[in-house]
């Protein structure tokens, strides 16, 4: 039995910065073969991008999270070094508590390691439907090649035992190459010693080794090769036994940058969405090791892979969005929302769960306290809201006017819209009104009456703990 990919989703943040902007700022650009790259917004990180890609994959598969029984989250740079973030991702995507979940990290190979483990689970009949999400946003020091290359993106795959894109072959290879790419404990940034020949040897040996381990010589239409920059994958063409045309066919590095652990997954997702029949996917991980996967497509794969939208940033705006040139949160206190209080509200913040009054049928958000309509104090029935709604009231919170929790975000991302949205019940019966912050568009885009959709973003960080929750963005009509 060979597991198959039944649906894919991919996501890239809306911001782009060009190589030219780096050249203007630094006099040079150290990431060859990259013309522009994706930049995560101030309220995005690997976890929120994983949510975006995961949601897209589920929608492509016409599934709800409850249909998944095995979940993986992969990132070389998860927002926390220690904490099982798959638990948060599971809650955001409404994957059942009984599902198995895993976090994969530690190298840029984590995305394919997660696919590998998901395949194992299916083959061992320990899972029926697997969701693998790889998301990454590497960072380097502002003046180095890692940062110049560092992009952002995420891909998610629904895997089942049968489907339109079978993973027919796989092999792995590991060899110690210390110092090729690493991130020290407690450091925000990834680095490499830049020993050119040594780095290249690590790259080609592991990729060649993994491909050599495949049962058959691959002859793919498209090759998704790990891309720390826009040049290295082509240097590994010989080792991988593929043409540079096959690498170029669906490459993401040139316009999205180095996607770290999501590099091969996003490229694979694009290749499948592009309709390629045969794809060779080969990752390379810091350390070093590689995974090679052969995907043969016999039928169309449901895909939600839109990586094109982009708003250009100047280099100064880039530094602002990254928080490089902003101060931290303000001191003070008052009206602090404790973590236990926050935790109680997660079904609302992650999944927009409202409550229906069993006595009069009206909706309450949040679902607590007396019914807003009839005053009944009975227990609400949990009722999910539709993730699309209509703006009823809006304002723009201008610079310096944000509540203290949001001061760091505002200083990074600028003015934002604060709105009230009417969301209908998912089953169409009733409306609940919810306050929300706007994201992904300028505040002017949030006019009353405009349709919006909810997504999950970073809200604020307090005491080292980032609170994630829904925000809204305009929906193009």
């Amino acid at each position: 039995m060979s597991p198959a990919i039944t649906a894919v989703g991919a996501y890239a943040p809306r911001f782009r910065i060009s190589a030219e902007a780096f050249r203007e700022a630094w006099g040079q650009f150290q990431a060859s073969g990259i013309s522009e790259k994706a930049v995560p917004a101030a309220d995005e990180d690997a976890l929120t991008m994983a949510y975006e890609a995961g949601r897209r994959a589920l929608e492509a598969a016409d599934l709800e999270g409850e249909g998944v029984d095995w979940l993986a989250f992969a990132s070389s740079r998860p927002p926390l070094a220690e904490e099982d973030l798959s638990a948060r991702l599971r809650a955001m995507l409404a994957v059942p508590r009984t599902a198995t979940d895993h976090v994969f990290t530690g190298s840029t190979r984590a995305g394919t390691r997660a696919l590998w483990a998901g395949m194992d689970a299916l083959e061992a009949a320990r899972a029926e439907r697997v969701l693998v999400v790889a998301a990454d946003a590497p960072r380097g020091e502002p003046d180095d090649g890692v940062d110049h290359a560092a992009g952002a993106g995420a891909a998610a795959f629904v895997l089942e035992r049968d489907g339109p894109a079978t993973i027919t072959d796989r092999a792995e290879y590991g060899a110690p190459y210390p110092g090729t790419r690493f991130r020290e404990s407690g450091r925000e940034t990834t680095e490499g010693l830049g020993v050119t020949g040594y780095d290249r040897a690590a790259f080609t040996e592991t990729i060649g080794g993994a491909v050599a381990g495949l049962e058959a010589d691959p002859d793919p239409d498209a090759a998704a090769i790990q891309a720390p920059d826009g040049k290295l994958p082509y240097r590994a063409a010989g080792a991988a036994g593929v043409s540079t045309d096959a690498i170029q066919a669906s490459a993401t590095v040139h316009d999205l940058g180095d996607l770290g652990a999501a590099s091969v997954p996003v490229t694979l997702a694009r290749a499948l969405a592009d309709g390629h029949r045969s794809v060779l996917a080969v990752s390379h991980g810091s350390g070093a090791g590689a995974d090679a996967l052969v995907v043969e497509r016999s039928d169309e794969v449901s895909a939600s892979v839109d990586l094109e939208v982009g708003d250009s940033l100047s280099y100064a705006e880039y530094l602002r969005q990254r928080g490089v040139i902003t101060s931290g949160p303000p001191a003070g206190g008052g009206a602090y929302v404790s973590l236990p209080s926050w935790k109680r509200s997660l079904p609302q913040r992650y999944r927009l769960e409202a409550g229906r009054c069993p006595d009069c049928g009206s909706l309450a958000f949040p679902p607590e306290g007396a019914c807003p309509d009839c005053g009944s104090l009975t227990e609400y029935e949990s009722t999910p809201l539709s993730r699309t709604g209509t703006l009823e009231a809006a304002t723009t919170i201008s610079q310096g006017g944000a509540p203290p929790e949001f001061a760091p975000l505002q200083s990074r991302a600028g003015d934002y819209a604060a709105v009230i949205v009417a969301f209908g019940a998912a089953n169409g019966d009733g409306v609940a009104r919810v306050p929300a912050m706007g994201t992904d568009a300028a505040p002017e885009a949030f006019g009353a009456g405009a349709p919006v959709e909810a997504t999950i973003r970073r809200l604020y960080t307090q005491e080292g703990v980032t609170r994630y929750g829904f925000k809204v963005r305009p929906v193009s009509e």
Binding site: A335, Y416, V419, I420
Partner: protein, 398 residues
């Protein structure tokens, strides 16, 4: 039930006073109150005290009521702190009236204070945040200015209210505040000043927002049994009304009004047996200029949607038919949260006792105060009238 009377009221100046403490500010207000009582007041005649405050420079004190009453020598007098955000001392006055009417006390001191200028701008924002809906509204990035801006945007959309009309509230209140020696921002502002000021939360500019303030204010309420010991020209507390609501704007049915104000006004008018046409002046809660426009409608000074035109017409100017915020309002006089409601009563007392100086409303015999907590989670309205003025009322229903 017994009648209750307003026999004195006084306040400190509002502003930033680094040399003053919350206690010294309260002392200033207390002494001004005692001096305002026509026949004088001996502290030992006070049976009870009710004090409104949110906090002291961002600190919360457990016994902030007794802390100020002991400071002015009211040892042993029962003192309660009430807290309803910006409506704290409006509610303190209401509690004083209740105590007098119930017969539990004959002379009650109602007051409030706040110190807001001694914390950093960041810490002040934390502190102000406690008065809103915290878990959802504030954590969706909204401040008070943002919430009122949302109300303004809806009012503008539904009724065609303009930003210029919002600015006219500021222009009017600054004109009045310039005549008030206690005002924090006692200078005039032009329409252009208000229009060109930086935007705080669209559509509200800096001039559409009140300042943060230090200050204290007190009012003395006496029963019908003892009122003649204090004055020969008593001011009756004709009507009291209060209402509360969902704390978050998003939880209310209507974003372009403050239902708690409507409930409070309805109750106060009914008790007083008068209607909005029967008041000669009003002190209304104008923490943001849209709040004053909403108050016109919620208090029945005009129909829904007509507040913008009302302010534009000059109806609510000092020389107009119904002068509103003769003190300068929160906008110009200042908004020391806990003192605000009592401070409005101070202006009502001055107007009704004919001591309002340059801003005196001629022939004022009945006035209204309107104090809102948060963005409308609580509201309280009082109708005061000079004894004998009841005869001139038309008894129109609210």
């Amino acid at each position: 039930m017994r009648e209750a009377y307003l026999v004195g009221a006084g306040q400190s100046s509002y502003g930033a006073f680094p040399e003053e403490s919350y206690r010294s500010l309260f002392r200033t207000a207390f002494e001004a109150t005692a001096e305002s009582v026509p026949k004088g007041l001996e502290p030992d005649e006070i049976d009870e005290a009710v004090v409104g405050t949110l906090g002291v420079g961002g600190r919360q004190l457990g016994l902030s009521g007794p802390a100020v009453t002991e400071h002015v020598g009211l040892h042993g007098v029962p003192c309660t702190r009430v807290e309803n955000a910006c409506a704290a001392s409006g509610y303190a006055v209401r509690q004083a009236v209740q105590a007098v009417r119930s017969g539990m006390a004959d002379v009650v001191l109602a007051g409030g204070f706040e110190v807001m200028s001694d914390t950093s701008a960041d810490a002040t924002k934390y502190w102000l945040g406690v008065s809103g809906e915290t878990e959802w509204e504030r954590l969706s990035g909204t401040t008070f200015s943002g919430t009122y801006a949302q109300m303004a945007s809806v009012h503008m959309r539904e009724y065609g209210t303009t930003r210029e009309q919002l600015s006219r509230v500021a222009v009017k209140n600054h004109a009045n505040g310039a005549k008030n020696p206690h005002a924090q921002l006692g200078f005039e502002c032009s329409l252009e000043d208000a229009e060109s000021a930086p935007v705080v939360a669209d559509p509200l500019t800096l001039y559409h927002c009140c300042p943060t303030s230090d200050g204290a204010a007190c009012a003395l309420i006496a029963s019908e049994d003892v009122v003649s010991e204090y004055t020969d020209d008593p001011i009756r507390v004709a009507g009291v009304g209060a209402g509360s609501d969902r704390v978050g704007l998003f939880q209310r049915e209507d974003y372009a009004s403050i239902p708690a104000s409507q409930r409070a006004a309805e109750a106060a008018y009914e008790m007083a047996g008068v209607g909005p046409d029967d008041v000669d002046f009003a002190e209304v809660h104008d923490c943001f200029s849209i709040a004053e426009l909403l108050a016109y409608e919620d208090l029945g000074f005009c129909e829904r949607g007509e507040a913008g035109e009302l302010v534009e017409s000059g109806y609510t100017e000092l020389e107009g038919d119904l002068p509103v915020n003769t003190s300068g309002g929160l906008k110009s006089k200042g908004h020391p949260i806990g003192a605000t409601g009592a401070g409005q009563v101070v202006e009502a007392f001055k107007q009704l006792s004919g001591t309002a100086g340059d801003r005196q409303v001629e022939g004022a015999s009945r006035g209204l105060t309107h104090n809102v907590g948060g963005s409308g989670g609580a509201a309280v309205v009082h109708v005061f009238e000079r004894a004998g003025a009841a005869d001139s009322s038309t008894g129109v229903d609210a």
